[in-house]
Amino acid sequence: MSGNSAPGAAPGETVIDARDVVKTYDTGIIQVHALRGVSLEVKRGEMVAIMGPSGCGKTTLLNSLSGLDDFDSGIVLINGQDITRMPDDKKTEFRARDMGFVFQTYNLLPVLTAAENVELPLIVSGTRPKVAREMALGSLDRVRLREWANQRPAQLSGGQRQRVTIARALVNRPAIIWADEPTGALDSATATEIMDLIVELNEAEHQTCVIVTHDPKVAARCHRTIQMADGQIVREDSRERMAAVANEH
């Protein structure tokens, strides 16, 4: 397990470097061009939001950059390593070690407790169970859920569940956190609470965050926002611009 400072990566250096990423879905009847040559750079410690209308390719871009999905052409370098050429096993290990994920639908295992869910990425990457449990409790502490550690997901509220997924994403102190609509299923108060937490952790841990969102308020909390349309990046907006948009809303 590596910490938040990946080998060879100096502060402010590029952590995610995507060049001309193309992804096409073939449904058998029609071809959907989800990504049409997307290029993107994200620096260490940066929080980047990806916005755009439904079907514009936001989640596809996140999945392609994080190695969850393959793409047709282009190059993606994470911490200087080309994930395009990594075999599946290696890519999986890389994810377990260097990445954390937060999803809209939480995706917690209902049969495990909060602590067991959080320690899962550690155990699969070979951490001793006792150490894993300590780290999991520490991670739950950071999201202020330590006292709920032995509850199962069904016994937690939506916001609490999302905090567990954030704890799980942070537990191995990954270099990058990928979040796909992290507040999509939450009410506005809870969404604000969750974003406060993400921002707070970003500031404290200097992790890189890539967040796919529909919500300008979420985007306004990020350093910059990438606007996508029809499988392409159409522009970049600053935090201030997004704050103004959020206020308009």
Partner: protein
């Protein structure tokens, strides 16, 4: 095969075909009325081809089991019947001397030809009787001079040519007529094969020790005209009547007469009753008797077939039960999978009934497919089983087995499969249709509506009231059946029970709604249709009662009282029809706690069954009743808020403990309760159910232990943990699957263990009785001194270390006082005398035998002391172990054979009176010992009736039964002598002797037993397919259900193999739990039954052995197959595309 469980197969066929036709008509009606929903259901079948195939495999099991059981029965019936027709030919009835009417030595039991000729004249031109044929017969040794081969017991018959012509005449293998004169002999095919006889060979027959030479003039078919009468002993030959009469000195007399009816070989049977009606009065005042031989043998063949079918069906019940669980599980899971679709369908206006119809359409698609596949598979399984039986049993069956299926059996198997599956599909469809639309669309768990009466006595009262009203019919029948409450309680219960299902069906319909909620929709149509399409059942048991229910609902729907006073409610539970009225008057919106209510109904039936069981001394009804009472307790505790884990665990553990209590402990309390093979099924069902409840409610305690394994297994801990945790959150499907596997394992383990221990009890070193060779001697050519006879025949007698002679009186020629007054005849009549085999042992046998004694009378310190005492005192005797066998448990029932009360070590000697049924002469002997079971097997080995008997001195036997003719010798050989080779030497030297090595006979017995066990285990093991298919279905379903979670696991770093592993662990956990459950329960119950004496006193003292190798093989196969079945879904889970899975909803 004409009967199954005592019900005519014609009736079973008619009813099952009619019900199947009704079901198909109903489905056709649904397709016509509602083609869209019908198609919606049908089109689901090809959606997931692998899953559909698995479903068909699972559903086909019932049909497979039933058709294989029927196929085996048909095969045996047809094979034995064909053999009977082939042997008896035109012979239908058999007239012979009746020693009970007039006792006389066997050589004097003759019928003068003149008498027979008088009968022939009397019945000339009779419409039923075609011919009456006298003949002489004798069992004699024969030797072929050319091949030097012998047959010690050839059945030699002699017909007059004119008489034989009436039976079709003697013909050779090519059909050419054969006539015999002088010393000519026609040998039958079987004898020709045995002694390698050809036309022209010279053969010697021995009569009274004197050789008589014949020349083989023809080889003829093995039928009654050539001595083949008994299917187990067909070696025979025909000779000229006059020549044989000269040899035997019987002159113009016959010792048996055959009657041939009108018609041919098969259709002569239908005149049998008419012929018997004429022959019986004819012989009434004569010393002769007539037996409807062909009819009896055909009936016996049908009995054999029906017995096999019954045994296979009973053993197959485990698999059928497991199959029913699987069908239910499959449809519950299909319903879960389709929940959002069904919710959407309901949202856009589909009615509950239409959802049921859609499910029925899909289910019937699987059902019909599965019935066809099951039928074909059943035929295949029968072929395999018959081949295995043939391979193991070989010639010892005595008949050639030809696989046969009757159209009726196939039709019944198909229909029963369709009906069983339809019923389960109907129930599960109905259950699936009761969904909350919003929860279903969003695929959320069903929320329970708030019930203000929940956990209150008021709610419980309502549950009891409705539960008993709804299930009045089964309760009423069980009350009737066991005489509880008599007509006063039974009749109202049955009447209410016929109406109440329709009342509850109407209760949820628009027709029954209060006026303010009612729409224009009319009455539900399906009960009308069901009533019309089901012949008889529908017309008499549905329609009239439905009309009454409609009338009652119509009257009361707008007349609901706000509340009912307490006395009315109390009265309702006391006076039956009143309960129904109160149920009718309750509000439409009130919730009924059906689980609690149904459990009360089960409890009521349990009371009736318990009472009935005690009243009839039936262990089955008693324990079934008590088990139902436990179920009622568990559900009631849960209703009143006791946690499920606590209520079901405690009641299951208590019930399990109850089942382990040996009957010898409960005997003082409840008396002796009789149980038979059905207890095997009931114990398995109840004990496995209890075990499953205990596991599914408590297995989570192993989770911390698994977590602690972390330090050893590191990365696979999460897979292990989820492998246990997931099944425990889906208790229903896990419990069902565990029960399926557990049930089959229980039955296999019980069977293997019981077989191993009984085998050890009967077939062990003691079974050789201290000898090496047994020699059967032809009764007409007895030997005085075996050693001298062998020496004079030129055989080397040096290897003989010791000899022993037994003379025998068979049960048909020996009676023993029925001392303890057991019922020993049909109808339970207590007769003063029972039948028994009696052995008379010579001094050499008594001195040399190593036969072991189980219980010695007071004053006899060793086994040797017992045998020496008998050698010294002709009034002493020992009895076989089987005499005091309790004949309960598996098999048994009254019969003619002597049965006595159990003995103990050091018992007081007691007397038994022996009686010759021929002369009525009696002799009293004193019993001083009882032999072991292995000794019974020793005396049975090499005996055609495989029976043991009472042992007395030879002189005592000859004095008591002077007409008895059986003789047997035993030899013990010097060490190093080849037993089989010496047995062949004996046979070559003595033409009247058949010799066998006791070890070879023992080996053959064990081989036979192993073969039959294998057939049964294979047959019962078919049920494992069900459990394994269930695991496959569950795993496939889990992959679909948990797609997103799999995506997440892969996202956070689970390798593909880890995902696959977690699925394999899940199936492994369920399979292992089921296997261990069956193993533990089966072994422990077998141990209790053996060591407590429930399997008889003889079994109590054995060294209980566990067939570990057999059990390891069975468990290994089950576990391996389970993992193999999960491999495909596990692999597909590991290949789930991560990004796609995370988007999947």
């Amino acid at each position: 095969m004409n009967d199954l469980f005592g019900v005519s197969m014609d009736i079973i066929a008619a009813v099952s075909i009619a019900v199947t036709a009704g079901i198909l008509l109903l489905v056709a009606y649904i397709a016509w009325r509602n083609p869209v929903m019908f198609k919606l259901g049908l089109r689901n079948i090809p959606r997931r081809k692998a899953q559909s195939s698995l479903i068909v495999v699972g559903l086909m099991l019932s049909t497979l089991i039933i058709s294989a059981a029927f196929g085996t029965g048909d095969t045996l019936t047809t094979s034995v019947t064909s053999e009977v027709y082939s042997i008896l030919g035109e012979a239908d009835e058999w007239i012979s001397w009746d020693p009970e009417k007039e006792p006389r030595p066997i050589e004097e039991q003759l019928i003068p030809l003149a008498t027979v000729e008088e009968w022939q004249r009397q019945f000339e031109g009779d419409p039923d009787i075609e011919a009456i044929v006298p003949f002489q017969r004798e069992t004699l040794p024969i030797q072929n001079q050319r091949s030097r081969l012998n047959e010690p017991s050839a059945r030699i018959v002699a017909f007059r040519a004119a008489d034989a012509a009436a039976l079709g005449g003697l013909r050779d293998l090519n059909g050419a007529p054969v006539s015999l004169s002088g010393r000519e002999m026609a040998v039958n095919e079987d004898l020709a094969k045995e002694i390698d006889a050809r036309v022209g060979d010279s053969v010697i027959v021995f009569y009274g020790g004197q050789p008589v030479e014949f020349t083989v003039s023809a080889v003829v078919p093995s039928d009654v005209l050539a001595g083949a009468i008994d299917p187990n002993a067909k070696n025979g030959a025909a000779v000229d009547f006059a020549t044989f009469a000269d040899i035997t000195g019987r002159g113009d007399n016959a010792n048996a007469v055959i009657v041939s009816n009108r018609g041919g070989v098969k259709d002569g049977l239908k005149y049998s009753d008419a012929a018997m009606d004429k022959l019986e009065p004819l012989l009434e005042d004569t010393p002769y008797q007539v037996v409807a031989l062909k009819k009896e043998l055909v009936r016996f063949a049908e009995l054999v077939g029906a017995s096999f079918t019954t045994v296979f069906v009973v053993f197959g019940l485990f698999s059928i039960a497991a199959g029913v669980l699987l069908i239910f599980l499959i449809f519950v899971m299909l319903a879960a999978e389709r929940k959002p679709e069904m919710g959407m369908a309901r949202a856009v206006g589909a009615k509950r009934r239409q959802l049921v119809e859609s499910f029925l359409a899909e289910g019937m698609g699987y059902d019909l497919g599965a019935a066809v596949v099951g039928l074909l598979a059943g035929i295949g399984v029968t072929l395999v089983m018959v081949e295995v039986i043939k391979a193991f049993a070989g010639d010892s069956l005595g008949i050639p087995l030809n696989v046969t299926f009757t159209a009726r059996s196939l039709a019944v198997a198909f229909c029963l499969g369709v009906i069983a599956t339809f019923i389960v599909i109907f129930v599960s469809s109905w259950r699936a249709s009761r969904l909350n639309i919003t929860a279903a669309i969003r695929d959320l768990p069903e929320s329970r509506p708030i019930d203000p009466e929940a956990e209150t006595w008021r709610g419980y009262y309502r549950a009891v009231l409705n539960g008993i009203v709804a299930l009045s019919l089964p309760i009423g029948f069980s009350f009737f059946l066991f005489g509880v409450g008599g007509m006063v309680l039974g009749v109202p219960l049955v009447v209410v029970g016929l109406i109440s299902p329709w009342f509850y069906a109407l209760r949820s319909s628009n027709f029954a709604s209060p006026a303010e909620h009612r729409t224009t929709e009319g009455l539900p149509r399906w009960p009308w249709i069901l009533g019309l399409v089901l012949p008889v059942v529908g017309w008499f048991l549905i329609l009239p009662w439905y009309f009454i229910a409609v009338g009652l609902v119509r009257i009361t729907r707008d007349r609901k009282p706000q509340s009912l006073s307490l006395w009315v409610r109390v009265l309702a539970l006391s006076v039956w029809p009143f309960a129904f009225i109160v149920a009718l008057l309750q509000g439409w919106r009130v919730r009924i706690a059906w689980t609690a209510g149904v459990s009360v109904a089960f409890g009521a039936a349990g009371v009736a069954l318990t009472y009935g069981g005690l009243d009839r001394d039936s262990a089955f009804f008693f324990l079934l009743g008590v088990s139902l009472l436990f179920l009622w307790v568990a559900v009631t505790l849960h209703y009143f808020g006791v946690a499920e884990r606590v209520s079901f665990t405690t009641t299951s553990a208590a019930l399990l403990a109850l089942w382990y209590i040996p009957s010898s402990w409960t005997k003082p309390l409840f008396g002796e309760l009789e149980g038979d093979i059905e207890m095997f099924f009931l114990s398995g069902m109840v004990m496995v159910t209890c075990g499953v409840f205990i596991i599914v409610y408590n297995a989570d305690i192993v989770l911390p232990a698994i977590a602690r394994l972390g330090s050893r297994f590191g990365r696979i801990v999460p897979a292990l943990k989820t492998g246990v945790a997931y099944p425990l959150t889906a208790r229903f499907r896990t419990g069902m699957t565990m029960a399926m596997i557990g049930l089959i394992m229980f039955s296999l383990v019980m069977m293997a263990t019981i077989n191993r221990n009984f085998s050890a009890l009967f077939l062990n070193e003691d079974t050789r009785g201290g000898f090496d060779i047994v020699i059967g001697v032809n009764e007409n050519n007895r030997v005085d001194d075996i050693r001298a006879a062998l020496a004079s025949a030129g055989a080397d007698t040096q290897p003989i270390a010791a000899t022993g002679e037994l003379r025998m009186a068979f049960p048909f020629e020996a009676e023993v006082e029925n001392r303890d007054g057991f019922e020993n005849a049909e109808g339970g009549e207590v007769k003063p005398y029972s039948r028994s085999k009696i052995f008379g042992a010579d001094a050499a046998f008594l001195a040399a035998n190593g036969v072991t004694i189980k219980f010695r009378a007071a004053g006899y310190a060793t086994d040797r002391a017992v045998w020496d005492a008998i050698a010294a005192d002709p009034s002493l005797a020992v009895i076989p172990a089987s005499t005091t066998a309790e004949q309960q448990g598996f098999g048994g029932g009254p019969n003619e054979i002597l049965r006595l009360n159990p003995l103990d070590e050091g018992f007081e000697p007691f007397t038994l009176e022996l009686r010759d049924p021929g002369t009525g002469a009696t002799k009293v002997v004193t019993v001083i010992g009882q032999m072991k079971e292995s000794a019974d097997a020793f005396f049975a080995l090499g005996s055609p009736d495989f029976a043991s008997g009472i042992v007395v001195q030879k002189s005592t036997l000859l004095e008591a039964f002077p007409a008895s003719r059986g003789q047997r010798f035993y030899l013990s050989l010097t060490p190093g002598t080849d037993e089989d080779a010496y047995a062949r030497t004996v046979e070559a030297a003595l033409v009247q002797a058949s010799a066998d090595s006791l070890q070879s006979l023992l080996d053959e017995q064990q081989r036979l037993q192993t073969g039959f066990l294998l057939v049964f285990q294979g047959f019962m093991g078919l049920g494992l397919i069900v459990g394994i298919a269930a695991l496959g279905v569950i795993a496939s379903r889990a992959v679909v259900e948990r797609r997103q979670q799999i995506g997440m696991l892969r996202a956070i770093g689970y390798q593909r193999r880890m995902v696959a592993l977690s699925f394999l662990f899940e199936s492994g956990f369920i399979a292992l739990s089921g296997i261990l459950l069956g193993l533990t329960l089966g072994l422990s119950l077998a141990w209790v039954l053996f060591t407590s004496g429930d399997f008889g006193e003889e079994a109590r003292n054995i060294d209980f052995t566990v067939p570990w190798v057999d059990l390891a093989v069975i468990s290994g196969i089950a576990m391996g197959a389970a993992l193999l079945m999960t491999f495909l879904p596990a692999r597909s889970a590991s290949r789930v595309p991560v990004a796609e899975a995370l988007r999947y909803e």
